[in-house]
């Protein structure tokens, strides 16, 4: 098999903007921001549990494979584990139990750990549901719609393009090396060759970024990204505002009514 950098798909699972039955990305970004902010100010377990119950099904409803979802969530929960290993033993004044070696477990620490666990998992689910299904282009456009300066959204887009090229080059070079009997890894003996390989990838991607820049300028690009081709569909905006609005109201009501 020949390894050709130009035929290797850069991003096999890329999706195209504008698929039906969805919420407008700008509303998504704004909604996520507002809801996350509200969530960070909640103090009751009820509200946090409600938020998790609402957000947990979202990645699955968006059609993400459950393996991916669980994998990413597990990774995020490594931090949660750290919380459980420290907070219950250090935070609070009212011990509820004593472990061997006289280690006291405090009620306040337990509650706080549970609260953080619920909140973090809620944010993880929301983030997965949005970021994993929205393309960088959609996100950039959403940010532009929300008034983020062009220069920043452009930077985001070009960084993403560059990361793609970088990853594609790395894979191509690794394949080419593997075909000639070299398996890239971090073992000490192979380290010099691996470093040379990575350097090559970096240089190559730099050249490629230059070429992409040239291609953009050749087609009249002068620094300002053109406006989105399609105006946001009204129902996508309305749907988003209603969904996020209801979720937010629910959160506030429960936070208020919770014992």
């Amino acid at each position: 098999m020949s390894v050709n950098p130009t035929t290797a798909p850069l991003k096999p699972t890329a999706t195209v903007a504008g698929s039906p039955a969805r919420i407008h990305p700008a509303v998504h970004v704004a909604g996520l921001f507002v809801c996350s902010l509200a969530l960070s100010f909640t103090h009751t377990l009820w509200a946090a549990a409600y938020a998790l119950a609402v957000s947990l099904p979202l990645p699955f409803l968006k059609g993400l494979p459950w393996r991916t979802v669980l994998g990413r969530m597990a990774l995020g929960n490594l931090f949660v584990l750290f919380i459980w290993l420290t907070m219950p033993f250090t935070l609070g004044q009212h011990p509820v139990a004593t472990l061997p070696f006289g280690l006291a477990v405090y009620a306040e620490g337990l509650t706080k750990s549970l609260l953080l666990t619920l909140k973090i998992n809620c944010l993880l689910a929301l983030g997965l549901a949005f970021l994993h299904t929205a393309s960088v282009h959609e996100t950039a456009k959403a940010l532009a719609t929300l008034g983020v300066p062009h220069k920043l959204t452009l930077l985001l887009l070009l960084t993403a393009r560059h990361m793609h090229s970088l990853w594609a080059s790395y894979r191509t070079v690794c394949n080419a090396a593997a075909l000639r009997g070299f398996t890239p890894c971090l073992r000490l003996r192979k380290l010099p060759k691996f470093a040379a390989l990575v350097t090559f990838v970096l240089l190559k991607s730099l050249e490629r970024a230059d070429n992409v820049d040239a291609a953009m300028r050749l087609r009249g690009f002068t620094g300002a990204f053109p406006a989105p081709l399609f105006a946001p569909a009204k129902q996508h905006v309305v749907r988003g505002v209603v969904a996020y609005g209801l979720a937010l109201v629910g959160l506030l009501v429960i936070e208020h009514l919770a014992p």
């Binding site: 798909p9 070429n211 087609r219 989105p228």
Partner: protein
Amino acid sequence: MHMPNCHGTSLMPPLLRVEGLHFAYPGEPALLCNACFSLDAGQKLGLLGDNAAGKSTLFHLITGLLAPTAGTVALHGTPCTTNAHVAAVRRTVGYLLQNSDEQLFCESVLEDVAFAPQNYGLPPAQAVEKAQQALEACGIAHLQDKSVYALSGGEKKLVALAGILAQEPEALLLDEPTNMLDTRTRQRLIDILHTLPQAMLVVSHDTPFLHALCSGFLSLENGQTTTMPPFHQHQLA
């Protein structure tokens, strides 16, 4: 037939004239020395030359991506000396890069093809219309909603071509356009290019393709361009 040369005799200035072009990459020996030719409106010229002869570099110089150490590129008789001139050349001359992977950078095919018309000030609806016409002309209208990352090599080439046609250039610089195309797509490309009214300067190592498309030939050798006599069938054998 008007054959291109440095001192064209026709009264109308040629669409594109390259005169006394010199260029060397930093720290390298001279790559182009006194390259000199012209391209008339509607003329289709093949540019022949060995690997590393400097053909792609010449295209970079024409479109202002590189600056020559001496010599000029003139569009409709006006030498390109300012940024505005360079912008005019880029608008008038569409450049199909040797590696089409580097030419595509938007998310969807339609967005990518509409990129140039949008940059040249068309409102989104009209840019979409232009892009769709260009995709239609290249026979790839069905790809419009696909992601550019999920295209085959040949499809990428055609999308890149559509992206250039959408800006309605007067001339095309095609750098190895048949690279990676299968026989059918290659024939389709020949058919498409035949119907286009634009002037073309085509680099290719695919001689039958050049023969099918071009009416004249330039050769780039030792940094200089020379006009070759019209190609004859027996020369291909």
